[in-house]
Amino acid sequence: MSRNTWKFHGGIHPPQNKQQSVSASIRQLPLPDKLILPLQQHIGAPGKVLVSVGDRVLKGQLLAQAKGFVSANLHAPSSGTVIDISDQPVQHPSGLPGKCIVIETDGKEQWCEIHPIDDYRQMDATQLLATINNAGIVGMGGAGFPSHVKIGTQQTISTLILNAVECEPYITSDDLLMRERAAEIIEGLQILAFILNPKEILVGIEDNKPEAIAAMRRAAQESTEANPGAPCAVTIVSVPTIYPSGGEKQIIQILTGKEVPSGGLPSDLGIVCHNTGTVHAIRNAVIEGKPLISRITTMTGNLVTDPGNIEVLLGTPVSHLLQHTRTSANQIHRLIMGGPMMGFSMRSTEIPIVKTSNCIIAADDQEFPDAPPEQPCIRCGACAEVCPAKLLPQQLFFYSKSKEIDKAKHYNLMDCIECGACSFVCPSQIPLVQYFRFGKGEVRKSKIETDKSDRARMRFEAHQERLEKEAAAKEEKRQQRAAANALKKEKQAKAKLEKEAAEAANPSTAASTAQESSNEPSNNDADEALETLKSNATKASKRYQQAKKALQMAEKNGADNIDKLREKILQLETKASDAKKALKEALPSPAKKIPAKSDATPNNTPKETDTSAVIAAATARVKVKKAQNALMAAEASDASQEVLEHLSTNLNTARTELEQHAPSEPTTGEAQ
């Protein structure tokens, strides 16, 4: 059964170290006292907790329900009591704690109600999908991507791939699983094939696992014989041993020659790829109705006295495993979850086994000595030779190091699968993968920051707009109110004047005094205004002189800002002349007014008061006052020249208006 395989670029041959853990068959451990179940055991949103502290739970009972599309259910691995729901050390390279449900086991292993499916072929594909979804199955090779999302793809699938490559050194959990439970795995594949209806099923196994290949071939043969009508046969493909052939993208390339587009999914190519353990779990979920509550984990490393593969309940603390494999925990230098190429070093022995924990390596510093200090990159290119993604790691390294994320992105940093092949071969001992992880983090961070700042800008602009609108509305209201007030005042004034007129018709001293008193201030106001104008004019001309002097000085010194000074002087000059003009214009009016006043006094003896003239005089007075106030306010606030000019003309016109009406005014008073 030879089938054409393709090669991916690069790859390395790290020492295998698999023989330590393959001698014994899969075994079980005694039930641990405590099971710690992190809510986040998969990619996506953590589930919603359905239990509370003190609840008694049964084996297989749903503890947390998937929340959102990419999420997974979590079940109780054993019966017992929920004793805590809190932050605990979990399987995360940062060492940051995560929220966990802690169950104290009661040793009864009491199952909740389960629903095995006798013949899945009688079921609907959607029903099977729901079963898998409910069982909380995620990719068990290490990534932890919820399986039902992969299986539930809308695209037409032509190829179903079982990734049984297990290319990382040390790990043998899939190997042992295939050796011992090949038939179950084939059954799981048939279930998937039933759901996805692919044209072919490919099983890729590295040629360093001859027993597993033999077992799988046998099981596939038997399966075909047992179900002659099966939609498609399982093809077992032996692939060359090279790391990282177990990467999803790499196994797809090896088996089909196709490349998953950057940023795309295998389903874009009509391919679905599952890990051995995952397929086995799917089989258990469908055939036995059991959710994912345990997995096979390899215990190995030179400190482990009884290395091997263990079927372990999820949530079992690593310390429990160490204890039952007779590991000298005191000598541990590096405790790794996952393989030596992509696994992470744990910071505590209390971290629990989760759905993705395929291997635990307890090693001293002989087995994994500390990396020597980083040396400068000599651009030897060894990294580029082994990169399975065909990237240029040295370029990515330079740009990640200098945080030039645009350039790093241009060199496809985000396509790095962090397999560690480049770091493995680097003669300069540069922790390249860490640089790339750092760079990727920076890319993500900058994306978040840009999004956030864009949002902040929008909100700020909206905020400003709102404030402006509010201010405009207020201003409008204020004007309305002012108009209403003015109307009211006018009415009052009218009423008063009418009353006065009525009084004046019957000559009375009261009326005349009233007139006089209202006349007096108007004169004073005008004088005051004149004064201010005068002082303004002198001030302006003084400033102009000062500026001129400054300019002369500056010219002598050849200062830089001469042009500015000159401009300013020009301004001042116009200002001064304008002020003088205003003064000139203003001056004659009182001059005229005074004689007019004196002239008018003796001559005119009105027989009756001219009501309309009085009203006009009053309004004129108000106008003068207003204009004066405006002018003063403008002066005080250093308003522009135009405004001042405008205001002073206003004042003048108001004054002339007053003048027109005022002469008739005092006569009434003085005539008496």
Partner: protein
């Protein structure tokens, strides 16, 4: 009990920069022996002098730059630069030539650009080019090859030649011993309208291909180069491109007018060709990055060498060609970025914002 937290991968191939450099030094051994056999003790003296100067310079600059001295000296990069430079220098060149050249290479070509890994030019070749431009007489005067580990010149005589106190004496001393290299002689004679056939008869050209021991020196460097490729210290792309570029031009010209242009074999095994192809051009720091880029880089060096050797003002051209292509390496990288997994075509050029 203390755990360590460290990024994966946790295991590492047992190799190091120092190891790479040591193997490089090992690979020069056949060449050094051949030079020793044909040109005598001078070459060993030059290597010793150069290595001492380089290490002192490196230590001094590291001290000035406040860097850990031992840490950097342990990577052997200074020694490699020194040895490569010394191999290119005439065996009886006065001591100050070596010292000046090596210090120039270490200080200006290496450390002023930021030290190991940051130098855009090959330091050894910068030093060589500097010497060749500055002291053309001393740099083109070789001993005639004689074999027998320089028995006729002797250790004492060699030392006296190299360390003679007065530079004025040099010229007369040289006259007694010196001779031009075959490449130099070829150029001179061809300029005098001699034909290549006649030249083959002359003393300086007697040998199996390229005359007077030089071919054997090149063969020795070729052997060392093959060792490097076998050990995966260098990739085959640069040397093959290099020899292909040189060979194609040489073949074309010599087929066109055999009397006027020397054969590809003569070019391959003459002068510093093999040293340049396997040891100089392959310096990864200053070369192109991708496989395709490296081949192009090597090929262009080969072309340039032939052009300068045949039409230029200097008899040999490895240093100039390598330096010029060092300058072009970023441009080559710019156009030869490989297509990475999952992409239809390779990226070109530089990053655009928010691409």
């Amino acid at each position: 009990m203390a755990f360590i937290s460290v990024t994966s991968p946790h295991s590492h191939r047992a190799n190091s920069t120092a190891g790479v450099m040591q193997q490089l030094l090992l690979a020069t051994l056949p060449g050094v022996l051949a030079l020793f056999w044909f040109f005598g003790w001078g070459i060993l003296v030059q290597i010793t002098l150069s290595v001492i100067t380089a290490v002192l310079c490196e230590a001094g600059i590291l001290y000035l730059r406040k860097k850990p001295i031992a840490f950097y000296l342990k990577d052997y990069s200074a020694v490699v630069t020194a040895v490569l430079l010394a191999l290119a220098i005439p065996p009886i060149a006065p001591w100050w030539i070596v010292v000046i050249g090596t210090s120039f290479a270490m200080v200006f070509a290496k450390h002023l650009y930021g030290g190991l890994g940051s130098n855009p030019f090959n330091p050894a070749m910068v030093g060589y080019a500097f010497l060749l431009i500055s002291f053309p007489l001393q740099m083109t005067t070789w001993l005639p090859s004689e074999g027998n580990f320089g028995a006729s010149t002797g250790v004492e005589n060699t030392l006296q030649l190299i360390f003679s106190s007065s530079p004025a004496d040099d010229a007369s001393n040289y006259d007694a011993f010196s001779g031009a290299t075959p490449l130099d002689e070829l150029k001179t004679q061809l300029d005098l309208d001699q034909s290549t056939d006649i030249l083959q008869q002359q003393d300086v050209f007697k040998g199996f291909i390229a005359g007077a021991g030089w071919d054997w020196v090149n063969v020795a460097f070729l052997i060392g180069g093959c060792f490097l490729i076998w050990r995966k210290i260098i990739s085959w792309h640069i040397p093959v491109g290099f020899l292909a570029g040189l060979g194609i031009l040489a073949a074309a010209f010599s087929l066109y007018q055999p009397a006027q242009y020397a054969s590809p074999l003569f070019h391959w095994f003459g002068g510093g060709c093999m040293l340049g192809a396997f040891f100089i051009a392959t310096d990864p720091v200053s070369a192109a990055t991708s496989d395709k880029g490296r081949f192009i880089y090597g090929f262009l060096i080969g072309l340039l060498i032939y052009i300068i050797r045949t039409f230029g003002g200097y008899p040999d051209a490895v240093a100039f060609a390598v330096l010029l292509l060092n300058l072009a390496a970023p441009t080559i990288d710019y156009y030869t970025q490989p297509r990475s997994y999952g992409h239809d075509k390779p990226n070109r050029g530089t990053a655009k914002k928010d691409s």
